[in-house]
Amino acid sequence: MSFVFYLLATLTVAGALAAVLLKNTVHCALALTVAFAGLALLFLDLDAQFAGFAQILVYIGAVAILVVFAILLTKGSETPKDGVFSRTWVAGLAVAAAVFAVLAWAVIQTANLLPSSAPAPTVTVQQIGQALVGRYVLPLEIVAVLLTAAMIGAVIIAMHEKDGVK
């Protein structure tokens, strides 16, 4: 666990905490962007070049902008009248802690199973590409169909039904 890892982890956690604790919703979205950037840098620290850059391209370049547009085009940018924190925050904290405990247990179990002396494999973009169109082509196609269905569904829900001929 190097110094760089602790620095990036602090950045990510700080961004995520700011994203839930800030009052202004657009500030929260921008803090979330910082958390995404921290995650991307963690990927790059692990030498996963494709994952890191794809994280920046997709999350910061598209998802963050989408979140910001959604906040601006709906009424989310006005601060709600009865405060931003829910009243049942204790139950929420308990559930979050339970989920975190399960995930941490699962991760540590797999870390114990890996041989610690094996060097980290260098995954090139070509290997990722070949895996995507070779072994994992069916999940790729299903994800593509799912994304298309989601886009069409969003357009249908958002469009005002026109009476008469279009």
Partner: protein, 391 residues
């Protein structure tokens, strides 16, 4: 001698690195490269501002700046002094932190894009295996700064300009990526140095640049259109159209922050032209085999400045596109052509060498273009415009 001129900057870098102990040498090499980029491209930016003002002026039948220095060449110095000494006005109700950070984010992400461009033989700052992906990741992050600038100004014109700019940028980002994907498909690598190496061969003295293939020409045209839209240049400059939106998302910026936005926009133009020359025009390779004695970095920068000249030419000549025309153009005309171009590039590869693939691929692309243009022209009914909005 020819090799020395070609590698003069690399040799200079190694000579300067030699003055430091072994442990610090890689760091020193990278720092020298960064210093070179940070000095050269803003200097080119200064030159381009004069170039643009004089060029636009001549196109519009006037002279342009001619008072500061011979032929107005010292004008950027005057502009720089002006922008440094102007009062920095921040609106009272503006969001101070975000307002401050927006130009910083823009300039930082745009400078990062220069790190993967090969500016000459062996002259890349970082030779990444996924170089093209890194470039597009930085380009995508620059859009966020546009939004931050528009939103934090608490000005409805700024916000509208920012929303329009972001909508335009994300639409044309799709076109930009898809037209670059054909190049990646044909070379089989995302690394920019390998893409140039694949173009650095000559047949009968003519180069193998991708622009000289049917799919490459179509890809280059679409890339150029998307690049113009990505950097908010005319004819796609509605987000900063002075006659419609005051100054769009950088209305409330004055003094040095405005200069930073200006710098960021021009640097984005440079880096996207640099990427376009790398992908389609062969990067640093010479146009004819017997011209290879000219240093490679001269070819790269010449092609870059030619692209900038074409940008300036387009700005002076073409009228501005309206927002819905812009969006229609991207999603209904260019995107189908891009997808078709992908398939044509695949067909090119699998038809094998020979004249057949030239004829077939050119025929498909020309037929598609003519068909789509005729289709668009035929459906033009002049009547009241009807819009469908999302609820």
């Amino acid at each position: 001698m020819q090799g020395n001129m070609d590698q003069i900057f690399v040799l200079l870098q190694h000579w300067l690195m030699g003055y430091l102990p072994m442990a610090l040498q890689p760091l020193a090499g990278v720092v020298l490269g960064v210093v070179a980029i940070v000095c050269v491209f803003p200097a080119l930016f200064a030159l381009t501002t004069v170039f643009e003002r004089k060029g636009l002026a001549r196109i519009q039948n006037r002279i342009g700046p001619n008072r500061v220095g011979p032929f107005g060449l010292l004008q950027p110095i005057a502009d720089g002094i002006k922008s440094l000494t102007k009062e920095d006005i921040v609106p009272l109700s503006a969001d101070a932190t975000v307002h401050f950070l927006a130009p910083v984010v823009l300039v930082v992400t745009v400078f990062m894009g220069f790190a993967v461009l090969p500016m000459g033989r062996n002259m890349v700052l970082v030779d990444l295996d996924a170089g093209l992906l890194f470039y597009f990741a930085m380009g995508a992050s620059a859009e966020l700064s546009v939004f931050m600038a528009g939103w934090s100004s608490r000005n409805k014109y700024s916000l509208m300009g920012a929303m329009r700019a972001v909508a335009q940028m994300i639409s044309y980002e799709v076109v930009l990526l898809l037209s670059s994907v054909t190049v990646v498909m044909m070379t089989g690598s995302l690394s920019l140095t390998k893409i140039i190496e694949a173009q650095n061969h000559y047949t009968w003295g003519l180069p193998h640049w991708f622009i000289f293939t049917p799919w490459g020409l179509a890809g280059f045209v679409m890339y150029a259109i998307a690049a113009t839209a990505e950097t908010n240049r005319s004819p796609f400059d509605l987000p900063e159209g002075e006659s419609e939106l005051v100054a769009g998302y950088h209305t409330e910026y004055s003094g040095f922050k405005f200069a930073l936005f200006f710098l960021g926009e021009y640097l984005a133009m440079f880096s996207i032209s640099g990427l376009g020359t790398t992908l389609f025009l062969g990067g640093w390779s010479a146009p004819l085999a017997w011209l290879a004695w000219v240093p490679s970095w001269i070819w790269f920068f010449s092609k870059l400045m030619m692209s900038i000249f074409v940008f300036i030419w387009m700005r002076g000549t073409l009228p501005r596109l309206r927002q819905d025309q812009l969006m229609n153009f991207a999603w209904k005309l260019i995107l189908p052509m891009c997808l078709l171009n992908l398939m044509v590039a695949a067909l090119w590869r699998f038809l094998g060498e020979g004249w057949l693939r030239w004829v077939v691929c050119s025929a498909i692309l020309i037929a598609a273009y003519a068909g789509m243009s005729l289709n668009e022209l035929r459906r033009k009914q002049i009547g009241p415009r009807r819009y469908r909005y999302a609820e």
